[in-house]
Symmetry: C4
Subunit: 278 residues, 4 copies
């Protein structure tokens, strides 16, 4: 029984270090994890540059193994220290954690370099872990709330933009035709979205006067319409900020019930009742 | 008389299925219609890709006939079940519904492929039907209201942008001239709008130092001016949201039923009834 | 004395037609003027297209003479009917009106086609007259007020953007150098503004990894910073709209002095005093 | 003692002229400084244009020496007239002021033209001095406050955009590959940011249908997401403006002097003093 308890304590300590953020050890773990993730991302990036890969291939390979082993140890510790390992395994972060360790071990079995690159890139999904660590920065919650509140509206808007793009893309396909680069309706829709979102690569551009006139209309539509999601987020965010402020400051007078609008009020503005006891 | 009544019932049932959205049959009809429209749009798109059309021409042709016949049946049912068929025929959706069936039948008479593509694309107009189905999503109404409220303002703004574009386009035509790609004033205006809306294809770009200086001014104007429609929509949307919230949270007078808009109201603003008991 | 009075009446009538907008004749004059201006603008535009000019040169020449003579008559009538002709001559619109008639008469003396095009384009300045006619659309006043209120702020902002562009442009010139298209510091600043305002022609683009990294930073700065003028206009416009609404609805109770927030209020919400006499 | 006092007076006068802005001499000094800085910036710019440099090399060299000597005198005067010279030397503007004089003197020792251009450009840092002079325009303070308030939120947002760019860039690298211009993951991330911020150079653009589809998604994300920083700044700015207006219009308590923030307050919120006589 004593060993069992000891075992539990040992697990609890690991749990506190890995999942906790308030103890010094927990904070240190988070910072080390952040550095290892960033390091692994930089390695994946640099490896993709041919000149770097040729020169430092050995170093990259060793780095990858070190990172993979560190991630594997972390994954095992997470599994051991948690009460319901199954829940973790099938959670969003559980799958990402697994996917960021498995690919390197697969290099023993698969030798085609094409597949390896794709698998290696899976480790990049770990950037979401960083986001999770950043979550503790209060501001991001506020941002997330504002985005969540305007989610459906932005979805409706994007859907509308897509329908307009399908129509305008088809018209441009009929006007310009395959000889001017508008080779098919999907390709033409691609061009319409490139124009409507004001990206404007210039790989395809209208050649006929009529096509250029329609393009001008599309741009002006895009110009006027970009205002819509901005207006939505802006209004939602303002409303959210105001609500929070109101609920922070909202006290009411115990004598007459009038709202107290200023946090530094000492007397009720309605009945003159003393709010703060001395 | 009995058959006449039966006939009426039969029509009423169809009407409920096609126009209604609250019965299970009505919902099912809407979902099936949505799928058929999306399917027909995808077919039109894929057909326009030469490599796809060569390989699956037969399949596309059959698909088109199936979709056309389904749309024809729907059109006839709509005509039968409605009380004033003439009103439907000349309504916006009536014309679209007709235009999305007719083209395929015309292939018997017209054999020029150029015309066929254009006609076939008419079926894409049916995407508006999807919009009509989406209408029931509450958020889109809110969006539509905000847009409607800022419509005239955005129109005035777009008109102003056009006048500025005409002036700046002419100046650029005089500065750069046909040798640097600014072949005519309309073409130069096209370039100005491409720049002002920050699309920037790069198919034409100023070559002279003076032209580049003016282009820089145009960009900064565009940068500062894009704020205007955004600001309008943002303010209108915020005002609209606030009004709705106010009326949601409102109390109503127990005497005359008028909404009470101010939380600190003590008397009804409509009948003078005392709202707060002392 | 009778002839003098008659003369005055005759002038007053012309004045009413030209400057007035409330009489049917005044409205008709404005509409005709609008059409003639638009027609003259379209002629200037089409003339600049070589293929059109070759074919319809004679027609364009006659059209120009007709428009010029109409504008000259209008100019003389304005001079006659106004009390202080000197004030009109040196006013903004007076100069534009003169500049839109003079160029065509100059074709008798100057025969170089290069100069002619530039002079002819002066007639485009008349589009401002259209703006003046549109002024009566109430919305544009509201827009103009919002823009005027945020003028200084946007100026400060644009000034800051320019300074940042000078610095970043110089850095890019040092990093990329003339071999990659950044031929001089002014040209490099031009590129920076093209990037910062998200126009992105692509006529010059960074080639070195360091240059691309700095370009990425510039883009993200531009992305975050475009928010500033939008935010300003949005807030100013909202404040302006609100103020107007407040002043429209702002009545106060003659009994207790409480503000009346609803235009349809019949009783004071504070003391129950009857606001509207029957 | 008398000379010491005289010396002090002499220093105080210089201090007033250089650091002060309210005396005519102080204003004149600021304006002269502004002109010299702008002149030196224009010289650095024009010098970088090869054709200008060849023709006016001698003039540019003399101009640079004049500006450098003027800046050196200013630097020495600032050192003499201030009480704590060490504090000034190591301040932000102290370092910039030094860096804008040193490079020209270094031309005696270093003769490589490559280094000279880079050093010469250091003088451009003096544009910040202009900003400091502009500081007195009240509006820029308001802007700066709005930006400072939304700083952390925009940082969180930019951080999120970067993570999304890393993921999407990697996906595009895997989809398009080096054959279509996506030569490495960092290069692919560069492309993603170019697209997401709607800059769209077009130096690299997706060639495969799948790549174009993903590009379309990135653009629409960028389109919807650009709303976020705008919304934040807009809301913050509006809140800031409102707070300022409220405090501007506020009454103050005749008893304790505290501001009265609510127009319908009857008692002071600080001392309970009755504000409204009955």
């Amino acid at each position: 029984m004593s060993t069992k308890k000891k075992n539990r304590d040992w697990r609890a300590t690991i749990h506190e270090v890995i999942y906790g953020t308030h103890t010094p050890a927990g904070k240190l773990f988070d910072i080390v994890l952040l550095i290892v993730i960033l390091y692994s991302i930089i390695i994946v990036m640099l490896e993709s540059i041919p000149s770097f890969d040729n020169q430092y291939h050995r170093f990259f390979n060793i780095s990858e193994w070190v990172v993979t082993i560190l991630f594997t140890i972390e994954y095992i510790l997470r599994l051991i220290s948690i009460k319901q390992p199954r829940k973790y395994i099938f959670s969003f972060f559980g799958i990402i954690d697994l996917l960021s360790t498995v690919p390197k071990y697969l290099t023993f079995f698969i030798l085609q370099s094409q597949f390896l690159t794709a698998f290696r890139a899976l480790r990049l999904l770990r950037v979401f872990r960083i986001l999770k660590l950043v979550r503790f920065v209060g501001e991001s919650n506020k941002l997330a709330s504002a985005l969540k509140a305007s989610k459906t509206k932005i979805f409706v808007f994007v859907f509308f933009v897509l329908i307009v793009s399908v129509l305008l893309g088809t018209i441009m396909y009929l006007v310009e035709g395959p000889t001017h680069g508008f080779t098919s309706i999907p390709h033409s829709i691609y061009w319409t979205i490139v124009t409507l979102t004001t990206v404007g690569y210039g790989d395809i551009s209208p050649q006929t006067p009529l096509g250029q006139f329609i393009a001008t209309l599309i741009m002006i539509i895009g110009y006027g319409v970009i205002a819509v999601p901005t207006g939505i987020v802006s209004a939602e965010y303002a409303a959210y900020s105001k609500n929070q402020k109101d609920s922070d400051q909202g006290r009411s007078c115990p004598n007459c019930g009038a709202e107290i609008h200023r946090s530094d009020a000492e007397y009720c503005r309605k009945c003159g009742y003393k709010l703060i006891e001395e």
